[in-house]
Symmetry: C2
Subunit: 251 residues, 2 copies
């Protein structure tokens, strides 16, 4: 059997509004879902404000460490949209109006009878050497440079850009995931679950507590790149739940 | 007038489930809201999986740079809850069962007639020198060590721990925030808004695009630690909106 292909990724979400609580991020969860299905391992997320120094530093840390970096936010037409400049600085290249993006956008604004003014032209700026990511919602594009993919913060636009980008990415072996609902809290299952994890080192077994206001229950998730190992762990977990249920019934 | 007190913070959210998309984080937004009201500036957020090396590295980067670090996740009773060990390693101290936490928890389980087993006792483990954070929901505590505050990932419990912790924190001068709804998209207002920001350097003016599926509008937010400067910027922004509206009405 061929060994699994592991592709790693990080996300950098950019925007003061995420840190002040004004906006609740929705792009991280969407990217996590999308990458999981594509077999790309999201390993780290960072959120920073609209500060060039912070963006450059985070970007350089992440792009050296992971196969892909995805960013959200800061590519609009206003003065606080500084992502394109920060990415250009991280790559050590100038940031200019991209001719292909200018053409796309000029045509769209002409069609709509709107002025393609200086603020709107800002949205065509990208680092030299970048390639634009189409935006089927509102035209103004994102861009890719090296292993960094720069997308909008508005969720509808982020979704559209990621959809356009996805077919161009290398994907890994998908991770199989099975979920088992345990009616017992982690305190009841923790000791035995530790032993089961040790017995199945090829799987990653996670346990996620749920709290309904009165009682804890647990969602147990087995992740593996091989079906047979996931199934073996699942059998042991189901046996554990049956055993605990029998013990509770007997008391 | 006394100069403003600036207190900075970072958050480290821990858990594979946040990176796989299985769980959509709710703690970051709650912490952001809470710190904003307390006048504490949240400057950076990181999300990492249940990997000791990653947790230690992120924690050491953040605790050296900000006044406070808040973590969520990984302090339950199962094998994948490794936050206490990772925090102990980051501080270079052993991780042991805390006597005060053991006492609290033993009393609670005795009251409820439940076994205080090995898995549950794991939740009393913390770095030597840590002080527990009360948990009014389900007893098993978080803990504080140095400038790091370690809390649960289950949102109800995170909220309860943060509430218990908040009165013990130093708070800064609150930031005044005023929000102005602009019926015009960022493309219409971008150029003038840049000039307004330049004219009011003591304020931070952000613009947040909204997209209703057809048209963009913008929420403009002025943040300042002084009322008078915020008001001056607000007057200029309202004048700008009136001017654009008049120009549109004339065409």
């Amino acid at each position: 059997m061929a060994s699994a292909t592991i592709i790693t990724a990080a996300m950098l979400a950019i925007g003061d509004e995420l840190l002040s609580g004004r906006t609740k991020d929705r792009n991280i969860g969407h990217l996590a879902d999308t990458l999981f299905l594509a077999g790309i391992d999201l390993k780290e997320v960072r959120i920073v404000g609209d500060e060039e120094e912070m963006i450059v530093e985070a970007l350089n840390a992440l792009r050296g460490r992971y196969d892909y970096v995805f960013t959200s936010g800061g590519i609009g037409p206003t003065h606080d949209d500084i992502t394109a400049d920060a990415v250009a600085r991280a790559f050590g290249v100038p940031c200019t109006h991209d001719p292909a993006a200018m053409e796309l956008m000029a045509a769209m604004y002409a069609r709509r009878g709107m002025e393609f003014n200086e603020a709107r032209q800002r949205m065509a700026r990208m680092p030299i050497g970048a390639k634009y990511i189409p935006n089927s919602v509102s035209t103004a594009p994102g861009f890719s440079i090296g292993n960094v993919h720069v997308m909008a913060g508005v969720p509808q636009v982020f979704v559209a850009m990621l959809e356009a980008l996805l077919p161009t990415l290398r994907t890994g072996s998908p991770v199989l995931s099975r979920s088992i609902a345990s009616p017992f809290g982690e305190g009841d299952i923790g000791t035995q679950l530790t032993a089961i994890q040790k017995a199945h080192p090829e799987t990653s077994i996670g346990s996620y507590p749920r709290f309904d206001g009165t009682r804890f229950s647990t969602e147990i998730v087995i992740r593996s790149r091989e079906q047979s190992t996931a199934e073996a762990a699942e059998r042991d977990i189901l046996a554990m739940i049956a055993e605990i249920a029998a013990a509770k019934a007997a008391t």
